[in-house]
Amino acid sequence: MKRFEELFAPHMDAAYNLARWLTGNDSAARDVVQESALRAFRFLHRFADGNSKAWFLTIVRNESYTWLKASAGHRWVAIGDELPEDDAALSHSQTPELLAIHMENAALVQQALCALPAIFREVIVLKELEDMPYKDIALVVDIPIGTVMSRLARARAMLKLELLKLHSHD
């Protein structure tokens, strides 16, 4: 119990933040973190040494997806890397001023980030909010380290697009 607490108490904020961003609500995030802590406790003997944050966040991420799948029921579709490219829209960001204005609007930034598919939202959360290095993101998200950069490139491009889209709804 003591080792468990020493290892994971420092990462409770990171765990809750990730779960909260992935599930989108507080009570689900609490459940996810509780479940994850139980799992971490149960499999503590498998955690040798190393990055306890990445290890814990990996569990939190898996539990978050389990929750997302369960809450989406049969509507769940695993979203792979092959999303339809929206190149026309991506290259046509001819409204830099509006983008700049929207980037200063906290509510819009939050809304745009929420609108991203989970696999893109999570890399933004881990990089921008958690400030994790690519090698740790690769562990948590379970992709090769070489894929982290391209995933982030996509995620940021999509986020920019979302921010511009929000404008058109105003």
Binding site: F8, M12, R42, A100, L129, Y134, M149, R156, L163
Partner: protein, 247 residues
Amino acid sequence: MTDLNCTACQVLIHGYLDKELDPTTTAKVAGHLAECAECTRLHDQARLLTVSVKRHAPYYSAPASLTASVFAPVVPRTSTVERWRNWFAPAFSAAALALALVLYVATPGSEQPLMDEAVSSHVRSLMGEHLNDVVSSDRHTVKPWFTGKLDFSPPVLDYSAQGFPLLGGRLDYLQHQTTAALSYGRAKHIINVFILPTTESDKPPITQSIRGFNVVSWQENHMRFVMVSDVEKGELETLGQLLRKGA
């Protein structure tokens, strides 16, 4: 210098921004940016975007109540009465936790933490003066004492005749479950028998040695038995047989 096309560069600018590129690639990207207005524009936009997310996207810190419930303190060691008063509130509030634990912890393959906890509890029970909550060799005193404190009925029997006098019982807390702990004497040695409910089917006894203590465990009638002591393996197994026979 610029053997880098724009498509490749537009991915690399992210590694460049995040300072994740090796020096050679960093130099290539910097070279390309110096000459390419479009990539520079995208780079600047991406940089502003990351700054904007850092500044405006909320960071959700873990609620204190969540952290408290995840790292719930284990058994306060105070007087029996007080302990019980202090215990019920957290016990109920952790009902969901306990339920989840039945599913997660009571599944096969999770034995080792339990055995470890049992050994620790055995050691603690000998260190303090808290071996027993109810001191009696009379099973008709010990058994009713457990009633209402546990949601299962552990077998309580005295084996004085066979050389294992019942010393008493207490409540313990293993694997996040309220556990009955019976203590038996064997010459000058103490044997702790932990009994907790399980949803699993019966399992034959296993003897192992953990941190110098002998541990015998088995499952029967949806109860899990763990005996811990420094007595010899054979003697511990003898008491195990008596407990299983229930005579």
